[in-house]
Point group: C3
């Protein structure tokens, strides 16, 4: 059976261990969105916001939770975790491009580099001295790999990635275009007449199964290494300073900045555009909502926020003006409380 | 007449339909800033902050609004929209580099790609299988174009741009260096032992006359497409998540992040470093001021804000400390109001 | 003496003018972190957060302040500015890779460009017409240099840098991978049916000893130039709009955005993710803390903030809800004050 022709619902149910409600002979060839899917498409429902499309979907089948199965008018593949089940089925129906072993004629490979025969090295790439490229690694076009870099098996550098010298990637790491790993950390020392650059002599170690988004930057350590542990997922345009350590399976959304020497725990979720200052410790299982600022260590799992949602601009200007006088307001209330013999003893 | 020698004010007035106050034979060869312009320069005034330079300008002529013409000591080209009039004149006096048709010897073009004879393909570029490059397209040096990409006529990819497979650009789209279009969206499904990658199988469709800034990233859709409609202008370092749709003629300033599946209306203005969470609907003609967070849908045109301008740091620390106790302050005021038989019935 | 074998503490003390407490014959070969350093490593202590590691360090010697010398159980190199002293010693012990003069066979150099014989031009680079590359300049692999660019002596473009046409770099400028200098500023003029692009005709001038981080973008001026003065240090993913001017020795952390035509003074310190709107004047010696928004000019040296640290999410939601009613709270307090004949005359 090849996935080019798709698969029957019965095959899918068996392969992925799902309960099927519907005809096992029905064939799906691709995935589709609940509201647009055609009769050869497999869809999924894992977000309550999209439940309204379930009744009218034209999909062949929908991957969904047990409690929604009765509302599904088409075939249902039932899973306690429909998003993960869908992800696995979709990857099987739509496998990534196969690796095409070989080194493009325009690639510039240092003679001391070791490149696995099963690796694919694209056009206009550079592989530096003593670099080691593992089995089935794909080095996309325009990618620059510095001296002494090591890439374990099955890494995919999509295109135009830069790995500075000495960076080490574990197995199955995916790096998207424009990412820069191993540039100098921002180490400067103030002196009488300006700044002295502090040499950035550490490395970057990326463990297995990490994914790194487009135009994300991860700086090398000042002395020791910057470390991204196993299974971490980084979205686009994230900035990770020198000597940061990110614990396994933490996921970080786009535009987050993490300053130097901060340690993030395992299984944290950091939403978009959060800023975390340097030299902090963030515990395991911490969730930080979007546009928040973290300026001191977080020692307990939990959800943390400081983002303020928009108001109509005129109302917001009044709020900001009032905020500037909030100290005075507290004082006024204190005066009033004293008049009533309220206050410290009674209220606080 | 060639613009190499510039043009007379009379020629400009006729060509751009402007009223001229001054000598039509005066010749200008280039544009200049109001406060620095020399006697062969054309300048403009479209921002009240710069009116103070009008009296002393040495420019040959100034493009400005009717109401300012009487204050202009040099020649005036009068327009109700001096910025747009200036933009058109400047583009005519300083045309972009002409397209130089041809494919550089170092370009790697897949044999199945179709490249218009009038297109210019720069050095160290890659054009993937079945890509279609339209008439007069410029593909700048170091640019990587994936399989099946289509570029309509007159696109300009400046340098070191990455278009992943299947991305489609309309006519006259400009993409600046380092931009990455079509990387995988941030789709991950939580599972017992970490994350499962959700395949990102959709595309990116960019309509005509869009401009995309340096190092901006636009992710491909998870299933359907990410869509940037006609005439949208995107500044640098913007992040656009999977399945976002941006309505025509919306302009977005630098460092904005828009999370997945959000729809932005037409003619919106989004200022710098705004963050917009996923799965929202933003109406047409919405203005969002800088550093604001949008975390719920906006259904009506208007101006929205949540950015807080800086205070002196000590004062700000007091404000933040007070803010943490604001809940308690409301309670105290409620107690006081009760003493006075004020409160709910009377004030709110 | 070569640094390959390291140096004795005596040699270091003499060369860098430091007081030595300990055996001048002790040899160090590399630098190390205070808490991990081995017996051939030189370490330093310049941050009170790390004083706890001093007592147990295994380093051969520590660079530190006079007041800490007595607590140091190993050799001490004493300096009033231990970070700067360490930076200089580390750069001497670990010098950067030497320049390897020559032009890689894959480089595409316009015949009209002038390249110093001592310069190193890496693979897959482009050097445009009339560009001038100074003595000992390193042009890293994949770097694109536009027409008419000038690079003064000892610049290092690390890899995959883009310099648009006409950009000028002073001596010893370091530019990290993915940086884009000279892309068009975000100049658009609103017109009846969309936007007109305002041609961006100015340049970018970077003075001596500037360092520019990975994926940072600096736009060219609209008419005049964008200017980065001597000794400015820019971290990663910073966005600098057209016609910005940054004063000498100012340091800017990652993810900062500065909108067009703003002038920043000398010796300013701008922390991460700050946003500064356009057309402002920021005085010399201004410090802006992380995630702050600057929306009006700052005329006096000092420290400025508007970032709000995170709270537990439930508490934060209550604070935000209260904030939306703060205007009403002020009114209530005013009513209460009137009851007491307090208020304007007495309290404000």
């Amino acid at each position: 059976m090849t996935t080019a022709d798709g698969a029957t619902l019965g095959q899918i149910a068996v392969r992925f261990g799902l309960e099927l409600k519907g005809d096992p002979a029905t064939r799906v060839t691709h995935v589709g969105e609940l509201k647009d899917a055609g009769p050869a498409a497999l869809s999924f429902l894992a977000d309550a916001r999209y439940e309204r499309y379930l009744a009218d979907t034209k999909a062949a089948a929908v991957v969904l939770e047990p409690k929604l199965a009765s509302q599904c008018q088409v075939a249902a593949l039932i899973s306690d975790n429909p998003r993960a089940a869908y992800a696995r089925i979709a990857a099987w129906l739509h496998p990534p491009e196969p690796v095409r072993p070989g080194i493009h004629a325009s690639a510039v490979i240092d003679p001391s580099a070791i490149v696995a025969e099963s690796a694919q090295i694209g056009p206009h790439t550079v592989v530096g001295a003593h670099a080691v490229i593992g089995e089935r690694v794909v080095v996309g076009s325009g990618t620059q790999i510095g001296n002494g870099v090591t890439l374990a098996e099955d890494c995919r550098l999509m295109a135009r990635v830069t790995l500075y010298g000495g960076v080490r990637l574990g197995a199955r790491v995916i790096v998207h275009a424009g990412a820069v790993i191993g540039a100098d950390g921002f180490g400067i020392a103030q002196d009488r007449d300006g700044w002295v650059k502090v040499p950035q002599l550490g490395g970057v170690v990326i463990h297995d199964d990490v994914e790194i988004g487009a135009n994300t930057t991860i700086d090398r350590g000042a002395i020791g290494d910057t470390v991204i542990e196993r299974g971490v997922k980084l979205d686009n345009q994230i900035q990770i300073g020198h000597n940061v350590r990110i614990g396994e399976h933490t996921a970080i959304a786009a535009c987050v900045g993490i300053s130097g020497s901060t340690t993030i725990g395992k299984r944290c979720l950091i939403a978009g555009a959060v800023g975390i200052v340097g030299h902090l410790q963030i515990a395991d299982d911490v969730v930080i909502t979007g546009l928040s600022m973290v300026s001191s260590s977080i020692t307990r799992a939990g959800v943390y926020s400081s983002g303020v949602p928009v108001s109509e601009a005129g109302a917001w200007r009044r709020i900001v003006a009032r905020l500037r006088n909030i100290d005075e307001l507290f004082d006024k209330v204190r005066v009033l409380e004293r008049r009533h013999k309220l206050g410290d003893s009674e209220n606080s």
